[in-house]
């Protein structure tokens, strides 16, 4: 039976680091980096006799996340202990939430090729991160740094509603974008502040029962997640096609070989013996508390999109693109406050900025310039100071060396030539050098004009004002 006869079923557990100033149960800083064990105290190091106290911002941020993803908010909630031994977990249990998560029954909508699709969220709960194990190359052992231990996370568990790696990508980007909009996390995958456990199973199309699933833990790049899903789904289909059975297990994705490996055998099946943490008290949220947070939520992407379509008359494709990331959207709004030209500003983002980011393998949060520079750049185009082809070069320069676009064009000598005399000179020169094109044009071949304008652009290194070139060529040719 060919691959096409199978359906891939994927569920995601997304861990997202909250951008609170302090850890979830102690007053240590959550700042990234720092010398080993300098953002630590007796509480997050699990010294005997210490007691955890919950950070109020963690509850607030998790409730924000729940509201922004259409979840119901639990009025009664609690923390539980998840027990397991690992050297990065100093208490030998992680404080998490088991049967009473803060948020449940939500959903987000994603754009797919077949239109909008709803992905249901089972729950969002709060928990603490673990520390970091460092291994040295001399076999001297392992070194434990607990700076990350106790950093607050939310875990967002989706229903198994995803059916392809493209859908997973869209879903992850949507979650990331929502959390950026509501400013609860910086969602930097490269720093591990957004990572996902990916559950994959396959079944024959039309089947109602799910297949046995495998889990790949702690994936932190869009690309690895896509590759891992593709590999794992194909592996499972092959096993089934050869009459084998899928074992429910945790796998490790290896980015270098592009394969998954079994991590532990069935005998060690997970048994975390969850129980309510007796050191922490109940979390009971009033209607008023939840309502206040609801009212404090900033404008979400859906609403911005609507505004861009109605107020700024963007085409749907542009509105979708600009709102896909808070960073694009903020850049856009800052830019149009200066240049009052939403169309050109959105076009530059959608075509040029996206292309450059793609080439650099970077994400929108890594754009090194602000809306001020983008707005100024659009103004320079609108005033005819630079041509649109020069604007692309300016954008590339903005990524390398961000500063005022007018400074850039001045330093690089990229100012557009709009002086009639200077352009006339170029036009005469090009006409003289291309008698065949002139003859072609006069014989009715309009295309010849495009060629001549192109030649003039080449001559001026893209600096000539294209409208003026066109006009002057036409005047000369019609003489």
């Amino acid at each position: 039976m060919p691959k096409e006869d199978y359906e891939i079923v994927i569920g995601l557990e997304v861990h997202c680091e909250l951008s609170t100033k302090t850890k979830i149960f102690c007053s240590c800083s959550t700042e990234f980096g720092g010398e080993p064990n300098t953002h630590c105290c007796p509480i997050c190091m699990a010294m005997p006799g210490t007691l955890p106290v919950l950070n109020e911002k963690v509850v607030e941020y998790a409730v924000k996340a729940g509201l922004a993803t259409n979840c119901k908010i639990a009025q009664n909630s609690k923390n539980d202990r998840k027990n397991y031994f690992y050297p990065d977990l100093p208490k030998a249990y992680q404080i998490s939430q088991y049967d009473m998560p803060l948020c449940y029954d939500g959903y987000v909508n994603i754009e797919t090729e077949e239109g909008e699709k709803t992905i249901r969220l089972e729950r969002i709960h709060i928990e603490e991160d673990a520390g970091k194990l460092n291994h040295d190359d001399y076999g001297r052992g392992t070194f434990v740094d607990l700076n990350r231990a106790g950093v607050p996370l939310i875990e967002c568990v989706s229903k198994p509603d995803l059916r392809s790696k493209e859908e997973v990508d869209a879903y992850l980007r949507k979650l990331k974008s929502i959390f950026e909009y509501i400013e609860i996390s910086d969602c930097k995958m490269q720093e591990g502040s957004l990572r996902a456990d990916v559950n994959v199973s396959v079944r024959k199309k039309g089947a109602t029962e799910f297949g046995t699933r495998t889990e790949m833990k702690n994936m932190n790049s869009f690309r690895s997640i896509s590759r891992a899903i593709e590999y794992e789904a194909n592996r499972q289909i092959e096993v089934l096609e050869n009459g084998g059975e899928i074992t429910q297990e945790t796998l490790r994705w290896d980015d270098i070989s592009g394969k998954t490996f079994s991590m532990r055998d069935k005998e060690d099946a997970q048994d975390y013996r969850y129980f309510p943490d007796p050191d922490l008290v109940a979390i009971r949220l009033s209607d008023e508390y939840i309502e206040n947070i609801k009212n404090s939520l900033p404008e979400l992407p859906e609403s911005r999109k609507k505004r861009y379509l109605e107020e700024y008359k963007l085409i749907p494709k542009a509105a979708n693109f600009v709102t896909s990331s808070k960073y694009y959207s903020d850049l856009f709004e800052e830019a149009i406050a200066i240049c009052k030209n939403p169309k050109t500003a959105s076009n530059l983002l959608m075509s040029e900025v996206a292309r450059i980011l793609n080439e650099r393998e970077e994400e929108p949060d890594q754009i090194p310039f602000s809306g001020k520079e983008l707005g100024e750049l659009v103004e320079l185009i609108d005033k005819g100071t630079i041509s649109s082809s020069i604007s692309k070069k300016v954008l590339e320069e903005l990524f390398e060396n961000p500063k005022s676009p007018s400074k850039i064009i001045e330093e690089k000598g990229w100012i557009q030539i709009s002086d009639e005399g200077a352009i006339k000179e170029v036009v005469s020169k090009i006409l003289e050098a291309n008698p065949q094109s002139v003859a072609d044009f006069k014989a009715g071949k309009d295309r010849a004009l495009g060629f001549l304008v192109g030649q003039a652009m080449k001559e001026t290194k893209g600096k000539a004002n294209p409208q003026m070139l066109n006009q002057l060529f036409l005047e000369e040719l019609k003489k």
């Binding site: 609170t20 302090t22 194990l133 070194f143 740094d145 490790r252 008290v281």
Partner: protein, 96 residues
């Protein structure tokens, strides 16, 4: 309810990384059965008129402000570690 099996005791011991002798397994199975039988009393209480409780007390919402207070002396935190290096706990090599 009070019927915890020998196998469950072995399983729990394994999860807690305890090596129990035959005699200890015997001993703890019996102990645990008695503890569970004692706790069984709670199930006899009629709670139909009682609100749902979370935890052992009526307390709720003990929160902390999100304000940084650094614990300044790393040496104090590491002082009891059997082995340390470069400000980190040194432990036997962990194989992934």
């Amino acid at each position: 309810m009070a019927n915890i099996t020998r196998e469950e005791i072995i399983h729990i011991a394994k999860l807690a990384m305890l090596n129990l002798s035959e005699q200890e397994i015997e001993h703890y199975t019996k102990d645990m059965q008695e503890i569970l039988a004692y706790a069984e009393m709670i199930n006899q209480i009629d709670t139909s008129d009682t609100d749902e409780t979370i935890g052992a007390t009526e307390q709720k919402n003990k929160f902390r402000k999100d304000e940084v207070m650094e614990f300044k002396t790393r040496e104090d935190l590491l002082q009891n570690a059997p082995s340390q290096d470069e400000g980190m706990f040194q432990i036997p090599k962990v194989i992934n």
